[in-house]
């Protein structure tokens, strides 16, 4: 299983702060995972349907969306950060 966590308006849109999903194919990227989740429709489609607006982390490190998930334990999906 793969752990997914959501933050900010992504979290609000999908209606939960995280979930576990079946591990995707070994060569699947974060973008592939996002497309798979968006295909669920509803809030998922609304917030994950336009990947340009999304940022991601794999195992607590920022990554581009074309990064292969591989054996990672946790993928995080969120909007561009606004700290400071």
């Amino acid at each position: 299983m793969l752990n997914i966590v959501y933050f900010a308006w992504v979290r609000e849109g999908v209606g939960r702060d995280g979930e576990q999903v079946e591990r995707p194919a070994p060569d699947a990227t974060v973008a592939d995972l996002v497309a798979m989740l968006a295909a669920r429709g509803g809030g998922y489609a609304q917030v994950l349907g336009d990947p340009v607006k999304l940022r991601a982390a794999i195992d607590q490190r920022f990554v581009p969306l074309d990064t292969v998930i591989g054996a990672a334990g946790e993928v995080a999906l969120f909007p561009p950060v606004t700290g400071g």
Binding site: A8, A57, Q60, R61, F62, E74, A76, F78, T82, G83
Partner: protein, 147 residues
Amino acid sequence: MKRVSIQPQDFDVAAELAALEALGGGGVASFTGIVRGEGGLIALELEHYPAMTQAQVDRIVDDALARWPLLGVSVIHRFGRLEPGARIVFVGTASRHRTAALESCAFLIDWLKSHAPFWKKEHFDAGAPRWVDARAEDAAKAQGWGL
């Protein structure tokens, strides 16, 4: 000295500065970020990625310590609900050289704006709350440091 704290509670700027001054370097620079109460804003809600934030800020403080001759660095970033006038973030640096202290302080706050996993939501006295959009200007400033 290296201090990184991600916390909900307020902090004492005078005490943070005193700790940096006590290092004896001769120069201390600091930046304090405060919630602006513009446009009917009644509160800012800061969400973060707890499993990532501390490690991520630790890494950039180590980067600053490697780039500049610093005697001490303190970074405090709050999360949770903050009202106008509340302190959000503190960056303090101590060095024997003012350029190192000032530059590393600017580097750290620019980095926090664009690379720390925090998200701000604005609550207003009228109307729906709104997530703050990232600013291209902040990303450009971080790029200026090679981030």
